[in-house]
């Protein structure tokens, strides 16, 4: 008996099948990358540690309060969110060495091989339980933005690069030592009662 030839499979519809699958994946795909503001929470203090609170001079603290009506009180002055960035930058840098703004102390930076006057400012952020999350993030964003802008300027001053991101890891470390991001969040209080 003669062997029967198996007929060739027509490949023409392969494209259709592939298209079908392609459309399925196109529809189900969600390419959302999660973005946000990264923060490090402070660890819970030990019982013994709690008693030895570090005293920080008042001129070194930049107090930002947000109340339940989403209003800002910065260093005992009312302020709009838009003005916060400039005020924060002025505080952190203290270029004019004002009495009311933070002290500076000389610190040896290995990467630059010289001593630099490093300001000792700390930002203290406090919010009410009734504060809305939106304004809280807006304030956090402004504070981080102030630090980023200062670091960018420092990157230009010390290394001649346009932005902090362009520096090598070592150089970034040096800038971080000069302007460490110090944002402290106090335990929340419930005043607005909402």
């Amino acid at each position: 008996m003669p062997r029967r030839e198996t007929p060739e499979i027509n490949g023409g519809s392969m494209a259709d099948i592939a298209f079908l699958l392609l459309i399925f994946f196109l529809v189900t795909t969600t390419m959302d990358v999660d973005t946000g503001i990264l923060r490090q929470l402070p660890p819970i203090p030990d019982v013994q540690q709690e008693k030895t609170d570090i005293d920080i001079k008042e001129r070194n603290i930049f107090v930002v309060l947000i109340n339940a009506q989403d209003k800002l009180l910065v260093e005992n002055r009312f302020m709009k969110v838009e003005d916060l960035r400039e005020a924060t930058k002025e505080f952190i840098r203290n270029e004019l060495n004002k009495e009311t703004l933070p002290e500076k102390e000389p610190k040896f930076i290995e990467e630059l091989n010289k001593e630099i006057m490093v300001p000792k400012g700390v930002i203290s952020l406090q919010n009410d339980r009734g504060t809305s999350y939106g304004i809280y993030i807006e304030v956090q964003n402004e504070l981080v933005a102030a630090y980023n802008e200062i670091r960018n300027e420092a990157a230009f001053e010390y290394f001649g690069k346009r932005s902090f991101e362009d520096l090598t890891e070592n150089q970034q470390e040096a800038i971080k030592k000069i302007y460490p991001q110090r944002i402290s969040e106090a335990e929340p209080k419930n005043i607005g009662d909402r």
Binding site: N127, Q140, N141
Partner: protein
């Protein structure tokens, strides 16, 4: 002797579609690889448009090391059961603040021990939520010593 050519057909010749499947397959593989199926069904209202906007945002790297906490009003179909006050969602179910510690512990158990210090908790919170519940979550995370957190936010143009 000169041959007489027959009059040529005018116009461009048809493009061969034989390589079409290859191109489509290439696209298909791209989408298959880049696709991420949503693992959990959201029971609270925190779609991308409800997140707060910010400019200083960073991309979260290593998605496998991120655990999510969703906070927002329950979706309409759950409102009869859970009310309209903002609630916490962990995995696929509603939870209370006290459940967070167990959640973090169970998330840790799923990972390699060496990876635990790099684990991040991403807070997806509706922007109209009051800070009270967020503060409670943060306190609870501190107690569980899950200190790396991310306030999920959209890019502001």
């Amino acid at each position: 002797m000169a041959k007489f050519n027959r009059a040529k057909k005018k116009g461009a010749p048809g493009i061969s579609t034989a390589s079409l499947p290859d191109i489509v397959f290439m696209l298909l593989f791209f989408f298959m690889i880049s696709t991420v199926m949503r693992e959990v069904e959201l029971k609270v209202q925190v779609s991308a448009g409800d997140l707060p906007k910010a400019t200083e945002i960073k991309k979260l790297e290593k998605k496998s090391l991120v655990s999510y906490i969703y906070v927002g009003k329950p979706r309409r179909q759950y409102q009869s059961l859970y009310g309209t006050e903002p609630r916490i969602q962990l995995n696929a179910s509603f939870a209370t603040v006290t459940d967070i510690r167990d959640y973090i512990i169970s998330e840790r158990e799923q990972r390699d021990e060496a990876e635990i210090p790099f684990m991040t908790t991403s807070l997806k919170v509706h922007q109209e939520t009051r800070m009270g519940i967020v503060t409670d979550i943060k306190q609870e995370l501190r107690k569980a010593s899950a200190l790396k957190i991310n306030y999920s936010a959209r890019k502001m143009d």
